[in-house]
C-alpha cells in the first residue's frame, strides 16, 4: 500500500510538471507509471498469496530465509 502511495506521489509530480510547462508529456508519464503500478500490484499480490499459503502469516520478519 505504501508503494502505491509513493507511485502516486511520483505521478503527481509528473502531472504537475506537465501542467506547469503546458505539455502532454507529464500525463504520458503518469500513464506509464500507472501501467507499471498495475503490473507490479498483480505480481506482488500473487506473491503475497503464496507467502501466506506457505508461512501462514504475513509477518515480513518470518521471511528471513536469507539470514546469515
Amino acid at each position: 500500500m505504501s508503494l502505491e502511495v509513493m507511485l502516486n506521489a511520483a505521478g503527481l509530480a509528473f502531472v504537475v510538471g506537465g501542467s506547469r510547462w503546458h505539455q502532454a508529456d507529464g500525463q504520458v508519464m503518469f500513464l506509464f507509471i500507472l501501467t507499471m503500478a498495475a503490473a507490479e500490484v498483480a505480481v506482488g499480490l500473487a506473491l503475497v498469496l503464496r507467502i501466506y499459503h506457505r508461512f501462514k502469516s504475513l509477518d515480513a520478519d518470518v521471511l528471513s530465509g536469507m539470514r546469515g
Binding site: V5, N8, H22, A24, V28, A42, V43, L45
Partner: protein
Amino acid sequence: MEPAFYIAGGVAVLATLLMLTRLNVVHALLYLIVSLLGVGVVFFVLGAPFAAALEAIVYAGAIMVLFLFVVMMLNIGAHAAETEKQWLTRGVWTGPGVLAGILLIEVAYLGRGSYAALGTAAIAPKEVGIALFGPYLIGVELASMLLLAGLVGAYHLGFHEAEKPEIQHDTDTHEGRADTGGDLVLAGTDRSARTP
C-alpha cells in the same frame, strides 16, 4: 479554482496519514482510495482531465479493488488487527518518521524557487493521445509487454498454489532428491515447508 486544489490536497495528505496508522487493513485500503480520489481532483484542478480520469478509473477502480480482493480472500481478520496493534508502537514510527522528514525537507528544498501561477489551460486528452502515438510509441509498446509479463507472472504464481498439496521432504535423504529430480519447477515448490 484554487481553494479546490488546497482542499483536495489536504484531503489526500490526511487520508494517507490515516491510512498509515489504521490497524484494520480494510480501513487502511479505503482511506487509500480516498487519498487517490483526492489526488485525482488535484489533477483535474491542474488541468489534466485525462490523468484525473485515469487515476480514478485505473488506480482507484482497478488496483485498489485488486487489493481488496486479496485482503478479503486471505481473511486475516481480528487476529491481524491484534498483531498490528503490537507492532505499530510509537517507537516503531521514529525511524521511518525521521527518514521521511529528511526526504520532505529535501523535496521542499528542491521545490524552492519562483512559483508559477496555476496553469488554467487544460491539456485535452486529444493532445495526450497524439503524444502517445507519436514520440512515446515505443513506450506504449513496452508498457503493453510489461502488462503481459505481469499477467503471465501473476497467473503462474497463482497457479500452483491451489493445485498440489505440500509434500514433506527431507532434503538430506536420497529419496527426497529422486522424487523431485527431473522437474526443476516442481523441485522448487515441493521443498519441505519450514513451518512458521
